[in-house]
């Protein structure tokens, strides 16, 4: 069983981690933007307006304007660049892995989420074209990165990363779990403050998961 003393080649080799992690982060940011764009296009083609209509953002003091794509880019760069700069400034291996590895895990998790949502959207859209399949508004709503479903899914991924941390003791997973929890909490914060009172915090149907 791998223990903190038996970490991966990447984590043992500090020079390898320094070279590989930023490159991996750039690749994952590009992948995320592509997936976000594909998800938006699918949601728009499947049901015009549903993506926005099912999860209206509650009024907050700091409204964040712009398209979901721009929000995704701002989020990735705003989180990743300072973390990578701080990691580069640190000479020690542990904090470097915590910060640089953390943003890589965060991008990996959001790419997973977007891929999952894209696949679900395509499934619902394909079936809807042929028959009277149910609306896929909840999935379309989760495409919006400030959405409630997005926040809840991020927290789930943070929990999964935390379980991985418990098994491996890896600083990379610790950083990723913390960042995911912070991002999930941030996405849910407006809903906690305003959502229930407005009566529109919940999407019209259940999130798209139903198996045993």
């Amino acid at each position: 069983m791998p223990l903190p003393s038996q970490l991966s080649v990447l984590e043992r080799d500090a020079a390898g981690a320094r070279a590989l992690l930023p490159a991996l982060w750039v690749a994952l940011v590009a992948l995320n933007l592509g997936l976000q764009r594909a998800g938006e296009l699918t949601a728009r083609a499947g049901a015009a307006g549903e993506a926005e209509a099912c999860e209206p953002r509650p009024r907050t003091r700091h409204r964040w304007h712009g398209s979901p794509l721009r929000r995704a880019l701002t989020c990735s760069l705003g989180l990743g660049l300072p973390a990578l700069a701080a990691a580069a400034a640190l000479a020690e291996r542990g904090p470097y892995l915590l910060l640089a590895g953390g943003v890589v895990v965060y991008e990996l998790a959001t790419a997973t989420l977007r891929l999952s949502l894209l696949l679900q959207l395509r499934l619902f859209a394909a079936l809807r074209r042929r028959t009277t399949a149910p609306r896929f508004a909840p999935v379309a709503g989760a495409i919006s990165i400030g959405g409630q479903l997005w926040g809840r899914r991020l927290l789930t991924l943070s929990f999964i990363t935390l379980c991985g941390l418990g098994m491996t003791g890896s600083p990379t997973l610790l950083g990723g779990s913390l960042l995911l929890a912070a991002a999930g909490g941030w996405a849910l914060a407006p809903w906690r403050r305003h959502g229930p009172a407005m009566g529109q915090a919940e999407p019209p149907t259940a999130p798209a998961t139903h198996h045993d």
């Binding site: 991966s8 590895g101 499934l123 619902f124 999935v139 929990f159 890896s170 198996h211």
Partner: protein, 203 residues
């Protein structure tokens, strides 16, 4: 020291797995109980509205036929998972990969628990208002297919985490999750194909 800690971790994994599986099925059972209660109330209210005294007498009591089948299915799934897990652990002991397989089972069950807890707040209330029509069965199949796709993407995520942290138990968990997702997807596809033949497509 490291070997002793590894052996202890390997011994603890099956017990942790057992605890997680019991917690998950307890959550599922509580959801089902809530759903049965809501359905019972809904059925009684509808009967009152329709002026059917025979049905109205059932006020407050959950309809038994549909839910007894659901309870049986839940119990069967629980036993099936226990059996499959026990077999995997025995196989791991035989092949000398016990900590990896037991850890994989644990992380797989933890992922399933996380998804169950995430969805537990929404499901009963929303399913309770859905009519029990053929369309409903197709809806459930669709949601199952959608959930299987989510499991597949989570398996990919776990595999990437295993690569980053260099952990075999997480990689085994990803494989288990991937296999489960493929099974769910196959079953959902079959159910969808069966339901599609019952419902005519719209123009």
């Amino acid at each position: 020291m490291t070997e002793a800690a590894g052996a202890l971790g390997g011994l603890l994994f099956p017990f942790a797995w057992l605890a997680v599986i019991v917690i998950r099925f307890a959550v599922l059972a509580s959801q089902l109980r809530g759903l049965a209660r809501t359905r019972g109330r809904l059925g009684a209210a509808l009967a009152d509205e329709a002026g059917q005294p025979g049905l109205a007498r059932a006020r407050g009591r959950p309809p038994s036929s549909g839910f007894s089948a659901a309870w049986t299915r839940l119990g069967r799934l629980f036993l099936l998972r226990l059996l499959a897990g026990a077999l995997a652990i025995l196989l791991g002991r035989w092949l000398h990969v016990f900590p990896q397989l037991a850890g994989g089972l644990l992380i797989n069950e933890l992922v399933r628990l996380a998804i169950t807890l995430r969805d537990s707040r929404h499901r009963p209330r929303q399913l309770s208002s859905a009519p029990l029509a053929p369309v409903d069965r197709r809806r459930v199949s669709l949601l199952a297919a959608s959930g299987a796709l989510e499991l597949a993407s989570l398996a990919l995520f776990l595999l990437a985490l295993a690569g980053l942290a260099g952990s075999w138990p997480i990689a085994c968990g990803a494989l288990f999750l991937g296999a489960e997702s493929a099974l769910h997807l196959t079953l959902a596809r079959r159910a969808l194909q069966a339901s599609r033949t019952q419902i005519a497509p719209t123009s």
